[in-house]
Amino acid sequence: MRRLLALVIVALAPMGPALADETAELIGDVERGERLFQQCRSCHQIGAGADNRIGPHLNGIFGRTAGALDGFRYSRSMERAFGDGLIWDLRTLDAYIENPRALISGTRMSYRGMADPQDRMDLLAFLRDNTASPQDIPESAPTAVRREVDLPPEILAIVGDVAYGEYLASECLTCHRRDGGDEGIPSITHWPEEDFVIAMHAYKRKLRPHPVMQMMAGRLNDEEIAALAAYFAALD
C-alpha cells in the first residue's frame, strides 16, 4: 500500500485552546483517499489529461491560488478569494472540503462537505500525490492541521443578543450595506446564522485571508459574533 511519506502535525484535540495538544502523524492513506475521491469525481478530474468539468481540474492543487485556472468560470466569491490571494494548502483545503461555504461563502461547489477528519486527511493525501511534484512541497510546510471551522456545538448554540448586535453591527455598516447591496463588498444580510458564525470564525482564525475582516473578526468574542449573526439574519 502506498502511504504518503509526508509527516505533518495533526491536531487531535477538537479545537480551541487545546490546540497545543498536537502530535506528529502521517497525513493519510492515499489508497483510501482515492476511493473517497469518488465523491468528487462527478465534478472534478485529476491525473494525466485531467480537464475542467463542472468543477476545475485538481492537478497541482497544493500551492495553487484559489480560483486561478484560466478558462474556468468561478463564482464571484471564489474570484474574490483569488483576489485576496487565498492559497490552497493543507489547512485551507481541509476547511474547504469539510464545509465549502465556511471558507468561500458564495461558492458554486454544491458539495455538502466531508465531516470525518480522517477521511479528509486520506483524501488530501491522495490529492497531494497528484500534485505534479509533491517533492517540491516542503514536507512540513503546512504545519498544524487545526480543526478550523468545526466549531463546537456550544459556540453554535449561543443565542445572540440582538440589541448588542445592533450596536456592534453599526461598525460593519460602514462597509456592508444594510440594503444587501454587494458592489465591491459582499452582502451579509439574511444569512443562516450558523453560516455567518462559521464565516466569522474562519476570519478570526485567519483561515480566510482578508486583512480587514481578520481584524474585524479578531476582536469579537463568541457572544459578539452570535449577536451579530442574529442581528443581520433578522434585519428587515
Partner: protein, 419 residues
C-alpha cells in the same frame, strides 16, 4: 413624529420656528448636531433612528449639498463625476424626522445650552454634537489666505474647490507645472495629498505627458509612503518630484498674483498651485471654548468633550488619540457618541465603544491600496489595538479587489450617513 419637512428645510422658516422662547421642560429631550458631514450626519441619523422618535434631533448644516472629500480625488483623476459625490439631506429629514436647518452655527452658550445661528435663530439643546470638520490655520503658508483660494485652491473641502482645481489641471499648458504645498501633521486624511498626486499624475500622463508635478512637503515621512512611491515609480516614472524638509520643503511661500512658489529660496513659476495649509478644528469649536491648541480634546469612551459633559465632538475637529482624521473615523466615532447620548437621555443600553478605520487610496486605474486599524478607548486616548496595511509588490488581482472594495465602502458609508 415625522415633522413637516418643508417647514424645516428653509433656514428662515426654521429660525422663526426656533426663535420662540425656550421652554426647558419639553416633552422630548433635544439633541442639536452642528455639521452634516461624515460625523454629524451619521450621529444625527443614528440618534433619530435608534431612539425611534424619543429624541428630537436638529441638524445644522449651511450647505444643501454635501460633497464628500472622500473620492473627490477620484473625481479629479477622471474616475468619477462630481454629481456622484454629492449628497443631500432629504432622506434624513423625511424618513428620520430630523429637523434639518440650513444655516451656520455662530456661537454656543454652554451655560444656557443654546446654539446661535447666523440667521439669528437660537436653538436649545440637552446634548450638543459638534462635527464641523476643519478650518485652516491663518498664516500657515506665507502669501496664502482664504482670499487666494480662487487662484490657488486647496480642494480640501470638496465641491466648488474640487471643480476649480480640476479645471485648472485640465487647462495646464503642455509641459506645464503643478505644485502642491502639502500640510504638516496632523491634518485631514493622511494619505489624501498623495492620492491627489496620483490622480493628477494619472490625468497628466494621459493628457499632458511632459507636465511636471512638484510636492513641497514639510513632513519627513507620510502615510503609505512606500506604497505610493512604488506606484509612482511604476506608473508615473519621472513625473513627480517631492521636496521634503531636508531640502527646504517646509520653507515655502506663495505669491498668488504672479503664480509663483518659493521653495527654500528657489522660485518656481507654476500653472497650478494646490495649497493645502495647516489645519485646526472647525471654528465653532473655538467659539464654544472647547479647544486646546488647534483641536478639541475628547474622552474616547464616548467622544464627550473633556471640557463640557453636554457636548460631544466628532471627527476631524477632535484630539482623541491614535485615530486618523478620516471620514471612516468620524463615522465610527459618531456611532459611539450616538449610543452614549441615547443612553444619557433615554436610559437605553450603552455598550463599550469600539472604533475602526480603513483608508483606501487609488494610485492608478485598478491599483488600490489600503491601511486600517481597530481602536479602543483608554483613560488617556483612543488607542490602536491592531492594524494592517497593503504591501509593496502585491499582484494586480489583489490591487483590483482592493479598489473594488473601496467602491463598496463608498456606497456603504454614504448610505450610513444619509440613509
Amino acid at each position: 413624529m415625522t415633522l413637516n419637512r418643508r417647514g424645516f428645510l428653509g433656514a428662515a422658516a426654521a429660525a422663526s420656528a426656533l426663535a420662540a422662547p425656550m421652554v426647558r421642560a419639553q416633552a422630548r429631550p433635544r439633541v442639536v448636531v452642528v455639521g452634516g458631514g461624515a460625523g454629524g450626519a451619521t450621529a444625527a441619523r443614528y440618534i433619530a433612528k435608534d431612539s425611534q422618535g424619543a429624541i428630537d434631533v436638529t441638524l445644522i448644516e449651511p450647505t444643501r449639498t454635501y460633497y464628500t472629500c472622500f473620492f473627490s480625488n477620484l473625481y479629479i483623476g477622471g474616475f468619477r463625476e462630481l454629481s456622484s459625490i454629492a449628497h443631500t439631506y432629504g432622506t434624513l429629514a423625511a424618513e428620520y424626522g430630523i429637523n434639518v436647518v440650513h444655516d451656520w452655527a455662530v456661537g454656543v452658550d454652554r451655560d444656557a445650552r443654546t446654539v446661535t445661528l447666523a440667521g439669528g435663530g437660537v436653538v436649545g439643546y440637552d446634548k450638543l454634537v459638534l462635527s464641523p470638520g476643519i478650518d485652516f490655520v491663518d498664516g500657515a503658508v506665507p502669501g496664502w489666505d482664504l482670499s487666494a483660494q480662487g487662484r490657488m485652491p486647496h480642494a480640501y473641502k470638496a465641491g466648488t474647490q474640487s471643480e476649480l482645481l480640476k479645471r485648472q489641471i485640465m487647462a495646464m499648458p503642455e509641459g506645464g507645472t503643478y505644485v502642491m504645498v502639502a500640510p504638516p501633521n496632523p491634518y485631514r486624511c493622511p494619505p489624501g495629498p498623495y492620492e491627489r498626486i496620483s490622480m493628477v499624475a494619472h490625468h497628466l500622463k494621459t493628457n499632458n505627458p511632459t507636465a511636471k508635478i512638484i510636492i513641497a512637503d514639510p513632513k519627513a515621512k507620510f502615510s503609505k509612503q512606500a506604497l505610493f512611491e512604488e506606484g509612482w515609480q511604476k506608473h508615473y516614472s519621472g513625473m513627480i518630484e517631492r521636496i521634503g524638509p531636508d531640502f527646504g520643503g517646509e520653507n515655502v511661500s506663495v505669491n498668488p498674483a504672479d503664480m509663483t512658489v518659493d521653495i527654500d529660496g528657489e522660485v518656481i513659476n507654476a500653472d497650478v498651485v494646490n495649497v493645502i495649509p495647516a489645519q485646526k478644528a472647525g471654528a465653532i469649536c473655538d467659539a464654544a471654548g472647547l479647544t486646546e491648541g488647534n483641536w478639541a480634546p475628547v474622552d474616547g469612551h464616548s467622544m464627550v468633550s473633556r471640557m463640557d459633559e453636554n457636548v460631544y465632538i466628532l471627527g476631524d475637529a477632535t484630539n482623541q488619540g491614535d485615530m486618523p482624521k478620516s471620514g471612516f473615523s468620524a463615522n465610527s466615532q459618531a456611532k459611539a457618541a450616538a449610543m452614549a447620548i441615547r443612553g444619557a437621555l433615554t436610559g437605553s443600553r450603552v455598550f463599550p465603544a469600539k472604533y475602526s478605520n480603513t483608508c483606501w487610496s487609488l494610485i492608478a486605474p485598478e491599483d488600490g491600496i489600503k491601511v486600517g486599524a481597530a481602536y479602543e478607548p483608554t483613560a488617556e486616548k483612543i488607542a490602536s489595538v491592531s492594524s494592517f496595511v497593503s504591501q509593496t509588490g502585491e499582484d494586480a488581482a489583489l490591487r483590483k479587489t482592493t479598489y473594488e472594495e473601496s467602491l463598496g465602502w463608498y456606497a456603504g458609508i454614504t448610505a450610513d450617513m444619509f440613509g
